[in-house]
Symmetry: C2
Subunit: 210 residues, 2 copies
Amino acid sequence: MSGRREEILDAALAIADEHGIGKVSMRALAERVGVTPMALYRHVSDKAELLDGMVGRLLAGLLPPDAGKGRAWHERLAALGYAVRGMARRHPWAAQLLFSRPAVTPDAVRVVDLIYTALVEAGVPDREVPRLERLISTFVIGFAASEASGRFGTGSLDPRGRRGRLPEGELPGHGRLAPWLDLPWDLDTEFEADLDDLLRLIKAVAGGRD
Amino acid sequence: MSGRREEILDAALAIADEHGIGKVSMRALAERVGVTPMALYRHVSDKAELLDGMVGRLLAGLLPPDAGKGRAWHERLAALGYAVRGMARRHPWAAQLLFSRPAVTPDAVRVVDLIYTALVEAGVPDREVPRLERLISTFVIGFAASEASGRFGTGSLDPRGRRGRLPEGELPGHGRLAPWLDLPWDLDTEFEADLDDLLRLIKAVAGGRD
DNA sequence: ACCTGAACACCGTTCAAGT
DNA sequence: ACCTGAACACCGTTCAAGT
């Protein structure tokens, strides 16, 4: 509709990408658009609605143009997973926001529908499909948010520091796994292995019951 | 150490539980403690450090006093999962914060160690244990955060509203699953089923390779 | 050691007024 | 229809000063 609203969302995305979501204020945004803060409220009802609009923009870019036609269900699911993670890496501020609101915009519903149809095609019983969709999307968004926020740490340094803080013997697990915890690890291959495991889980639900 | 710091954290938790995390400001906190805002900086270096301290408090209450001695690995994992979800239900503001910082406090490391030892006992190959720990904790925290923030919607009303927004035929998945989407659903049994599926996944990794 | 007062550089949002 | 100015009720944090 209004080209002004799109211009405002463009500017908000630019600020978030350049300086972090914390710098996206109505005042800073207004200055970037070249207008008074109050003028924004003509095109956006709220700051919350502004953030929703920003997330909506990213969701719109998530779907493959052909919806993955001609590819197997597990390829379509994996592609979507990689797309979400890639989006979170390009826009680290976005992952946290995905947790805050239900998927009600048209683009978000389309993404959910893509997962539904893939799960149905995989042979998951109809009544289990919505639950598995939430399981998968929760994990994928959670992984993206963890990565973006630094919850996964940086690798080799962290575990070493952790073991140092508590007395030996109080952390038997860390002690036994020490050789693996000291190794640098790669989130790309980890995410790949996680998606593999989730596909296996889907197949188990598809084949194991009903 | 300083009893003053504990008093400050108590007050911050009380404000967050009563009025939401958004009302936890240095100024409001100071007033509740009965002191000037600046006095807080003697006991807390930062607002970020204050939030870390609040999360630390909750993590300390998460571990079973006996570390689950005498119970099977899958019982210990499930108990921890329910504990995390319960915590997020009592303190809805906390789940989002768990995503923001790596688990480096002593209590957080103890929780990670509990999962490590359970996975080792389950027969998961050592080198896969850290990855599976991250997979499980990411899902559990993600579920808790989704529930606390309303990402999962409220049930019956939401899917009906969703389908209405897009033309028929554009959402084949929603169309097929309509009977299940209109049903009210229960997050308690959903979380139980999810944990079951994750335990199955763990067993598959434990038995299937290496 | 512990706390205060005043100040700086910010917020989101309302409301009446301008063109 | 669209934008502005001034104002209200807030923020986190620094810094010099008090006891």
